[in-house]
Amino acid sequence: MIQEKKQSSIAFVIGASSVGTLIEWYDFYIFGMLATIISKQFFPADAGTAALLSTLAIFAAGFIVRPFGALVFGRLGDLIGRKHTFLLTLVIMGGSTFAIGLVPGYATIGWAAPILVLILRLLQGLALGGEYGGAATYVAEHAPKGQRGFWTSWIQTTATLGLFLALGVIILIRSSQGVEKFSAEWGGWRYPFWISLLLVGVSILIRMRMSESPMFSKLKTEGKTSVNPLKESFGQKGNFKMVLLALFGAVMGQGVVWYTGQFYAQSFIETVCKVEFIQSRNLMLWAILMATPCFVLFGWLSDKVGRKWIMLIGMLAAVLTYRPIYKQFLSLTSAKNRIEKIDLAKITASEPKVVTDAKETTKIYVTQIFDTAYTDGAHFKYIKTDTLLLTAAYDANLKMDALNPSLVVSKSVKPNVVIEKTMDDATYWNLIWLVFIQIVYVTMVYGPIAAFLVEMFPTKIRYTSMSLPYHIGNGVFGGLVPFLGTLIVEFTKSPESPMGDALAGLWYPIGVASVCLIIGVFYLSNKIDKNVMD
């Protein structure tokens, strides 16, 4: 009896649900974070069909399979129960993540490699689609009256903590192994996938000790569970209109704010501002760590003042400040406002790399590094690689110094230039602060949303009804932030301005969040549903 009481205690429910959800997010993120290596190992660029499979793995997993998973597992959760359904999603996610780490590369097994990885990635998307709705519903249905926002906000921290865990594990392994060893076919990049098996194993053991949601058990005992959750969720006007309202008045805006704060910011700092790899990831880790308690704070606050206005103020703040924040990113990482330390500016040339390809063409890659130090402590590195195409008369034993210029047939018109900026401490902390602000917006829109969605739908079709808008809002609207952001920047490029407007990509999240904000202000209610038993 005591044991039963212990098991059903709210803290255990939260812990057990949150750990599983966190691991699912970790599993989903590591694939995205290791995308460059995965693409080299499984989807070689010179194989056209492999590129198609890569696109399917990236696009389809997030945009099609996640909402589809929401429907499949949502239905199952409303038919057989929350506990068994989200146990199943955990097994599928953990199994497919571990298996990705076992698939030999394209170089070893050819086409089977990208096809296997694609299937496993789609399974990951499917499982993720089923997990969140189950965990949020399960926790909300256990939460004491008047504390639903507070308790479900712990589930909301898992998506961010999953990102934190994935970033941390990857940085740790990469730093200990070095880039070359980490990126090899059976290198360290596979370890984060293998670690997942251990994490999922522990989580399954914990979840198996959990009991079914009391509200669902009650419905089941009374024989009042839904017979056809899909039909009742989307075929009945009364419920379908609430699904549409949840999507367009809350989750759509929440999705773009979330993806902009946590993913677009990182990508912008790394690819546009050119901040060095480890530094850009470390600053994300700091910002996430500092902002995560705000999920619980806003969840708790939503129990006192209602969910609506917290979420909408988060969206409004994002709409108003995104452009100034990103403008500040550019300004802080620019060389313009810095004074060079002339005596420390140096140019070094690395050992030339000679490569003879299958067509017997000899190429020499000549790399020069321009290292500029600034008075504030920042270091900017410009790594320029020229490719020299040589005639057949070239002798590989010759030293570069002795290379006769007449042997050079051509030199690459556009050298490959890599810029790596290492920021000084003050700028580094300013960048962390700017990312932190964005993650606080994320906590405002995301912290109360589980309680908000749970309260919108009846118990018997709750899992199905809340899962679909959640995964369309996050998977589709949010997931498209990087793609559409880049596309909009492309629109602004012209012969006069070949780089375009780096800030133009923000119009997509700003536009979506603005429409969602208007809908939210006029159509949503701020009332907290005190009784979710019905």
Partner: protein, 83 residues
């Protein structure tokens, strides 16, 4: 407030088909601008986007229609109002 909700419904109803037209236009433009090697890959990306966004836009249209017909004038306060 209900009048505003109703009027905005027309905006949502107009926005939905406009968004589909914009996406189709972009898809055609981007696919035809892509190089021979990249074309099938770019086409696949846009087919997925259109495939996903078309039902969402239909949903947005229906949302507008519900707003016009005053479906959101009163939000349900218990599950019995939904069923």
């Amino acid at each position: 407030m209900n009048a505003v909700k109703k009027s905005l419904g027309y905006v949502w109803m107009l926005m939905a088909p406009a968004l589909i037209c914009f996406l189709v236009y972009q898809a055609v433009e981007k696919i035809s601008a892509a190089s021979e090697i990249q074309r099938s890959n770019v086409a696949l990306q846009w087919v997925i986007i259109l495939l996903v966004f078309t039902p969402i836009c239909v949903g947005f249209f229906i949302f507008g229609k519900y707003a016009i017909s005053n479906e959101y004038a009163h939000l349900p306060e218990s599950s019995t109002e939904i069923e």
